[in-house]
């Protein structure tokens, strides 16, 4: 599904990723764990096409080399990305946010310039699917996104990324800034999505949440992969030592 091989990259002269290998297998949840500043978000950003710039290695998605591809093309290729911090369009309504999520479903050519927001049947179907999955969003479809609660915004961000029916969903710190009860709901949704067969690459700082849904685990430290493997082979204590006490490689 997703194969990251020998990936190195950085912001200008500052190198943040060192020879990273990571594999996401179809239909599985791969959790990337690590301390604050370990390079988890940088890794997801690089896979999505955002800075840090890639200086070496390759990113292959569904057999296609996407390493140098512009971010919007990766979305079209089937990579969905929910960035950290509930990046919804706060001044737009819930429905407009979802329609924007389905931007790549737009018809090509002139129709995209003049087409009404809901004119495309594919976009309308995708909208209905998300409302079915997130009834809370359907109730608030005309609400401005900025006035939703944090948990609702996170759900909206996820629904937005699901609009074009991605084959891999990347989630960056979905529990950040949420009360434990709400974070649990978000992870409940991740379980549902996995049950539907979606492949997921998850970055999460709260090990307990991540281990609840993970099939595979990769631990990042100082921009390098410190350990990786089947989630069952990681017992919780070892993982926590690994990450937070900086025990190094196992």
């Amino acid at each position: 599904m997703l194969q990251v091989s020998g990936l190195s990259g950085g912001y200008g002269d500052i190198r943040v990723l060192w020879d990273v290998d990571l594999r996401v297998r179809p239909g599985r949840v791969t959790a990337v764990l690590g301390r604050n500043g370990a390079g988890k978000t940088s890794l997801l950003n690089a896979v999505a096409g955002f800075p840090p710039g890639v200086t070496g290695g390759t990113i292959t998605f569904d057999g296609r080399d996407v390493t140098g591809m512009a971010p919007h093309r990766r979305v079209r290729a089937g990579l969905g990305y929910v960035q950290e911090g509930k990046q919804v369009f706060r001044q737009r309504t819930v429905e407009d946010n979802l329609l924007l999520g389905g931007f790549t479903l737009a018809r090509s050519g002139l129709g995209r310039w003049t087409g009404g927001r809901k004119r495309s049947p594919a976009r309308r179907e995708a909208l209905d699917r998300q409302y079915e999955r997130f009834p809370m969003l359907a109730e608030r479809r005309h609400t401005v996104a900025g006035s939703l609660s944090g948990g609702q915004q996170q759900m909206l961000a996820i629904a937005q990324a699901l609009m074009p029916a991605p084959r891999l969903l990347m989630l960056d710190e979905p529990s950040a800034g949420l009360a434990p009860v709400i974070a649990a709901e978000v992870f409940e949704m991740i379980t549902v999505l996995r049950a539907d067969g979606l492949s997921i690459l998850l970055v999460e700082q709260v090990v307990e949440y991540a281990m609840r849904v993970a099939d595979d685990v990769a631990v990042v430290d100082n921009g390098r992969i410190a350990a990786a493997g089947d989630a069952r082979s990681f017992d919780d204590t070892a993982v926590i030592n690994e990450i937070y006490l900086g025990a190094g490689s196992r």
Partner: protein
């Protein structure tokens, strides 16, 4: 009523500039200060087409539109694109002021510093309308700017691409993550703003003549128009421009010729102090 018509015609100029600012601002988050200078260059190019080349108006308008669109695209490539990956948002304001100054200088060098009269497509016989007189050219200018402002407003609210431009202005990275080609959108916005500036140049020149200094005046009042109306709101910019034009004309008529600028800027300051986001800007945003 003649005063009102004159105010509306001047206001149409300011609205036109405000609309151009907003087109670019909405799609790329950049205030393109050079937009007013694009209109100024357009008036000279219209002169070249109509007088030097003797082309009919129907050919001069689209040709000027295309030429100014090309200039705007070049501006985007040299003054905006290199800045996009840098932090801090004020660099673009400086470079667009630079482009504007450059365009003003080129115009002065090529066409001289004296105002040049551009032949109007309409007869100079004024119309009597609602108890006041107005030049035909000015009436057309007012109607076209109104249609443009309302049309763009509806386009940005009703179409997916318009929505995409609002979203990109709000959160560029999030827009990219949703699959929007924000670079193409930004470039398209510059091209559109240039096209509009060029298409309207003939009618602008019909009111102001072509003059190298025109850019400065329009840039300033256009800026006041979006500050009053609310940046990022096409309707706000439209109303802001007409409001300033009216205020200017009414003050000149009833208070005295030396007061309009003082009154306009006093109102401008008052609005900035009481409604920093403008009369129509940012009302929808609420932090939770």
């Amino acid at each position: 009523m003649t005063t009102i018509w004159a105010g509306l015609a001047t206001g149409a100029l300011y609205s036109l500039v405000a609309i151009g600012y907003n087109v670019v601002l909405l799609a790329s988050g950049v205030v393109n200060f050079a937009n007013a200078y694009l209109i100024m260059i357009g008036t000279f190019l219209a002169y070249v087409c109509l007088v030097d080349w003797g082309l009919p108006v129907a050919a001069a308008i689209p040709l000027t539109g295309l030429a100014v669109a090309v200039i705007a695209v070049v501006e985007e490539r040299i003054a905006i694109r290199p800045l996009l990956n840098r932090q801090g948002g004020h660099a673009a304001l400086i470079t667009t002021v630079g482009v504007g100054t450059l365009l003003g200088g080129i115009a002065a060098k090529v066409w001289g510093t004296e105002p040049v009269r551009v032949p109007s497509p309409f007869s100079a016989e004024p119309l009597t309308l609602l108890g006041g007189t107005i030049q035909r050219n000015d009436l057309v200018l007012i109607l076209l700017v109104l249609a443009l402002g309302v049309g763009l407003h509806l386009w940005s609210r009703r179409t997916l691409l318009g929505l995409a431009s609002l979203a990109t202005a709000e959160n560029r990275q999030a827009a990219q993550a949703r699959g929007l080609n924000v670079r193409a959108l930004g470039l398209g916005a510059f091209a559109l703003a240039g096209l509009i500036a060029g298409l309207f140049a003939v009618f602008v020149a019909g009111r102001t003549y072509a003059h190298f200094h025109l850019g400065e005046t329009l840039a300033l009042f256009g800026f006041v128009a979006i500050a009053i109306g609310g940046s990022g709101s096409q309707l706000g910019g439209l109303i802001g421009g007409f409001a300033i034009g009216l205020l200017y004309a009414v003050t000149a008529r009833y208070v005295g010729d030396s007061y309009p600028q003082i009154v306009v800027f006093a109102v401008f300051l008052l609005i900035l102090l009481t409604r920093p986001r403008g009369l129509f800007g940012g009302a929808a945003e609420r932090q939770v």
